[in-house]
Symmetry: D2
Subunit: 297 residues, 4 copies
């Protein structure tokens, strides 16, 4: 299969006024992403509000993205139960996903020790027709997948990489130091794409790539070419925008930034809330500072 | 409606060898619970593995419990999206649930501030045909519902109580000090049922009530009658069994204890694992010490 | 020795305008406490700003309290190093302390596992001329002393009790269930004095006892006499004042409340700050509501 | 003054069989460090067991280091009270320290909000005859100094840098993006020296530099020269040794590694424990793998 490498956007899911997925707007966003430097799209990532969607909506979305993009498609398929995770992963493969991004189950935290999580990922990898990327997202899941666990999983033929959204650069370094050469270690946020790539990472799937796809792709390409000074500058420049669309204002903030950059962002699905006026002013300032206002209109 | 008061078992969901819900075993368990001192049943609590079940399985379970029990039925209906939470709550009401136990959405932790959670609960309460109990379960959700938030929600006509599984006795005290007289504050674990009731709580929904229903009901009844010395003794006596079926061995441990006490426990749904041999030996010792071995066979 | 039982005030340390300890004001406060229902005084607790004081200041303070009070004197003697802890404990004994309250070292958290902490407490207990109370204060130290550890330590002849300021009522219950009858389990905050005593605790050392000593002593006495309804009422009534002098406004808040109640509070030692105006208004409202304004003038 | 730049060792404090500081062994270690590529020494850092030492011992140590080294001397002077911190900082300056490394007070966590900590650092900086480095060590202190706070402090004329031992690379990046050009941002651990330097950091003070000083100095020098491929290799190679002397085995592990590399490590001051046999075997394997066994004998 094609190598999982480069910068991916974990696309937002557009909703219409009736609260349902707006597939038309979705297709328009994808058409715009096709013209950027992105290597591909992650559907049903955290930024795609995957926990807000029904099983059927998830399958429909994967199909829509597959039709809408030229590049690689990674589909988020992790659920609390092993059974549903396997079903969704197979459904994603049937609909043309190149790989599955699998987050760990996390509700029963005390029952989900490292041995249990290892069994979970191995079972999904064994059953999956497409390669898996492990998805570590401790900020949302409340569970961290240690470098030790990820390195064990990296030995499986059908586990091809990890998207680490914990941002612990030591943990990321430990994975890079111990994993096979072709194991793709991805930054899970635009705020440490430079550090991850400089240490040997193969790309990232970044909320901020929904707003500034070309800047993120350029940062990565410069690192790969060894042009660290220019890459560093972009990294430091995008920190504030990155914070606006992640830690500072969440999904609502990311969607507001997409609207400002010329994509369709719209409203998140409740209980998630849209960005308020103060947040929008902050976001607009960052979008403008990077010359992104209306750039993708 | 009937008052939400007394001890409830958050019933386990039995699975067959094929991984599907075993409604026959479920009915047998319920028939046994009907003969105990329990005030009712909570279906689809954390101990019912609600996050492992599909929307349709949840509706089927509620219907099955309604048919199977004489007492009150509280159904867990909280989901990540507001839309699905309301749909499930209405579905539960249609199937005869007396109240809905609603956990807060929790995946997008940084997006779910107290104001947003308040809106969520108010929207569900407004839309629900049956009264709501707030479900605070920070150990699993990673989010605590403060006494301040719970007291705001307690003012809503259709919000009738809180099940607090955080175990912070100060927070529970603050709710009891500030809530209306008819607001039911429930202990969410058997390890602080005594303290909660002594402070004015109205009952509990307790994992350990799946194993020792009559002992839990007696503890509560003694507190209500002011017989604190006898109640305290039961409280201290059940701490170790309570730990076995919650913090120490989780769902697998609870199901193993149910098997030992004469209910059907069986296997949890993967990735959850059954208790291992060392755990079973510990659990058996506690079950025996309390004279519960085979008591409900 | 006299039994460690009842309510103790962890006295504040008064500072003069020059930043030094004001022993005159200290003596005045102690004289007032002598007339209350308190069982004794804890010098050099967290509320006594012990980490702000030099070794010599600590010794001087212990001497001053011993001269100033009729009841029991417990002196806080825990330091980061074992050597200094033993020296200070011996110094406290020389100056007439009845018992030593020993907090665990906590700076090197990852080096201080339960086995290491056990060795620490055993070494202090072996070397100490006076009995030890273990001091668990996870909110400040960042380390929790588990019920398992405390129960191991409770077996030592020279370890006589625990002051648990973590407020985890299950942990407190587990200690009460497993400890020898004469082991004194103390509530470390006024917010769970009722629950702790109802479960079998022997008293408390409470910030709020610096402001409302008689109310706290009464709450405890009522519990001991089995008058739970009256005790519960006091418990729920003092929650807000208790929060003001602990979690809400810290040491500065406690000293402001002492001033309002008629003791000398004054300024904390920097970097600790006095309560600001908004805090003082909140504190005053709570002090007034309980009829404590100027009560001890 | 000389610029604070390069790699520093936070020297261990050697203790004799009597538990007192062994100044002879200390001098021997320093003489060896003088011949390495280190830019200087940090006395009284966390690795120097500063919380285990008396005020007088601290002053004596600073004097001893000043006599023993050719390079820059940074002295750790942070205490819980502002008063003692200022006294110790002045004492350090009197004894020839080039800069003071000031950790935040941390015991009264809830009283020490960002405004209070800002006042603390400003007061120390105003009173200090020598420049300050802020010391952020959340793993031990339980308090994180945000990039926002550090950037405010960076504006003070007498605050010259930060040693960030939290390891949050995003926070480090935010400081680098916002601080004046001459503000020195230091990695606080050898596990992210590469990432920090690649992003624009000016050096580090690293436990592992007590064991592998030349390797650490080389890693830094290569980054500065833009030789990222070689620097990256060293970074990934030293991760395991770094873990052994920090997160995995703490102070005892670091001292054991020093012994193996040919420095004097010896025993930590109790309650800290020496590394046990299993730890020593792991440490030895890492020391050997890097060719450091006996290198500095």
């Amino acid at each position: 299969m094609k190598k999982i490498e480069g910068v991916f956007a974990p696309v937002a899911t557009p909703f219409g006024a009736d609260g349902n997925i707006d597939f038309g707007k979705y297709a328009e966003n994808l058409a715009k992403f096709n013209k950027t430097g992105l290597a591909g799209i992650v559907a049903l990532g955290s930024n795609g509000e995957f926990t807000m969607l029904s099983h059927q909506e998830k399958l429909d979305l994967i199909q829509a993205v597959r039709k809408g993009i030229d590049g690689l498609l990674i589909a988020g398929t992790g659920c609390e139960s092993l059974k549903e995770t396997i079903e969704l992963t197979k459904g994603a493969a049937d609909r043309g996903a190149d790989a599955a991004l699998v987050i760990n189950p996390c509700y029963y935290k005390r029952d989900l020790g490292e041995g249990t999580l290892e069994k979970f990922f191995i079972a999904v990898a064994d059953a999956s027709p497409i390669p898996l990327m492990i998805y570590n997202m401790p900020g949302n899941s409340g569970v961290n997948l240690s470098s030790n666990l990820v390195l064990k999983l990296a030995a499986h033929d059908n586990i091809t990489g990890v998207k680490d959204s914990g941002g612990n650069i030591v943990q990321i370094s430990e994975i890079l130091a111990g994993a096979p050469e072709d194991f793709s270690v991805f930054a899970g946020s635009g705020s440490y794409l430079f550090a991850t790539t400089a240490l040997g990472g193969k790309g990232g799937t970044l909320a901020v790539a929904n707003v500034a796809p070309d800047l993120c792709a350029e940062l990565y390409a410069l690192c790969v070419k060894g042009e660290y000074d220019r890459a560093r500058k972009i990294q430091l420049d995008i920190l504030q925008l990155n914070a606006c669309v992640t830690s500072r204002y969440g999904i609502g903030g990311m969607k507001a930034a997409m609207d400002l950059a010329g994509f369709f962002g719209g409203l998140p699905r409740p209980p998630l809330q849209p960005a308020n006026d103060a947040a929008r002013a902050d976001i607009r300032a960052q979008v403008e500072k990077l010359g992104l206002l209306g750039k993708y209109r």
